[in-house]
Amino acid sequence: MKNKTIIIGGSALFLICLFLIGGYFFKKSEINKYSEEVEKNRQKLLTEFAPLYGNKDAKVEIVEFLDPECETCRNFYPAVKKLIAEFDGKVKLFVRYAPFHKNSIQAIQILEAARMQNKYWQTLEFFFQKQPEWGSHQKPQPELLWTYLPKLGLDVERIRQDMNHPQVINQIETDMKDLKTFNIKATPTFFVNGKPLPTFGYGPLREAVKKAVEEAY
C-alpha cells in the first residue's frame, strides 16, 4: 500500500514538475525571441509625436502602450507615475496607444486634442478616474467624455476641430501599425529602454526600471 502511494505521488509530482519546468523554459525562449524581434525594430518604438511624461533628458525611457478604456491601464497609471517620481528625473515615459476597446479611438482623439491645449495629463487622469462611468463593459457611455471637458477647462469647440487633425489621425494609425510590428495583444505593454518585460506586472516593471537606472547612471 505504501509502495502504491509513492508511485502515485511520484508520478503526479513528476508530471507536474515536467509541466512547470517545460513551461518555464518555453516562456524563457519565447521572451528571448521576442526581445530580439523588438531590438530589430527598436527605432520604431519611439515616435516624434508620443506624449512625454517626466524629464525629457532622462536616460531611462519607458514606452507604454495603453488604452484609456482599459481597466488595468487605469490601475497601473498611479503606480507608473509614482515610479517616475521615485527615480527623480532619471526616468521618462512615452505614451503610445493600443485602442483595443470600442470607444478607445474616440477617447484618444479627444486626449490628443486636449494635448494641443496643454491639458493632456489632466485629461488622461480624469478619463481614467471616470472610466467606470463612460467605459463600463456592460453599458459604455462615450458621450459622457464630452461632459468632462468643460470641467477640465477645455475649449470643447476646439477639441471638436482638433480631434480630426491629420496629425492626430496619423499618430493613431502609426501606433496601430506598430501594434502589429511589436505583436502587442494586451494593455498595458511596457518597454524599458527598448526591452520588453520578462513577465507582466508592477514588480517586473519596477525591477526593469531599477536595473536600467543602475546601468545608465
Binding site: 508520478s11 503526479a12 508530471l15 509541466f19 517545460g22 513551461g23 518555453f26
Partner: protein
C-alpha cells in the same frame, strides 16, 4: 495477480488523463493558444477523469468503470466530430463555433497529421479501449 493487472490498467488510465489535461493546459496557458468551443467540451470531459481515476486508484474501486465511461464516451464523440471538422469532412459552417476561435483552425501540425484534436482523439480512444478491456476482464467476469 489479477488484482494487480486491474490496478495497473487503472494506473495507465490515470496517467493518460494526467498527460492529456496538463498537455492541454500547456497549450492554453503557456503557449497562449486560445481553446475553441469544441476544445472546451473535450476538456470538460477530460479534466474530471484525472480525479476520478486517482480516487479509484487510492480506494481501488472497479466500479470506476461506471463513473468514467460516460465522460470518456462523450469526450470521444466530441473529439471525433472535431477531427471531422478539421479534416473538412464536416463543413466548418455546420460546427457550433462561429465566434471566437474557429474550430477548424490548426494551431499545431506535427508530422502532417497530429493536430490538437487528434491528440485528444488518441487520448479518448486509448481510454475507451482500456476501459472496455477493464470491463471485459475485471468488471463483468463470466
Amino acid at each position: 495477480m489479477r488484482e494487480k493487472q486491474a490496478y495497473n490498467l487503472l494506473f495507465v488510465c490515470w496517467i493518460i488523463a494526467m498527460i492529456a489535461s496538463l498537455g492541454s493546459l500547456f497549450f492554453s496557458s503557456i503557449m497562449n493558444f486560445v481553446p475553441c468551443t469544441l476544445c472546451w467540451y473535450q476538456r470538460i470531459c477530460m479534466y474530471p477523469l484525472v480525479l476520478i481515476f486517482l480516487t479509484a486508484l487510492i480506494r481501488f474501486e472497479k466500479s470506476v468503470f461506471y463513473y468514467s465511461s460516460s465522460l470518456i464516451a462523450i469526450g470521444w464523440f466530441i473529439s471525433l466530430y472535431h477531427n471531422l471538422v478539421q479534416l473538412k469532412i464536416i463543413p466548418e459552417e455546420a460546427s457550433p463555433c462561429v465566434q471566437g476561435v474557429p474550430c477548424a483552425m490548426k494551431y499545431i501540425n506535427w508530422l502532417g497529421f497530429i493536430t490538437i484534436p487528434m491528440l485528444s482523439f488518441f487520448a479518448f480512444s486509448i481510454l475507451l479501449s482500456l476501459m472496455y478491456l477493464f470491463y471485459r476482464r475485471f468488471v463483468n467476469e463470466k
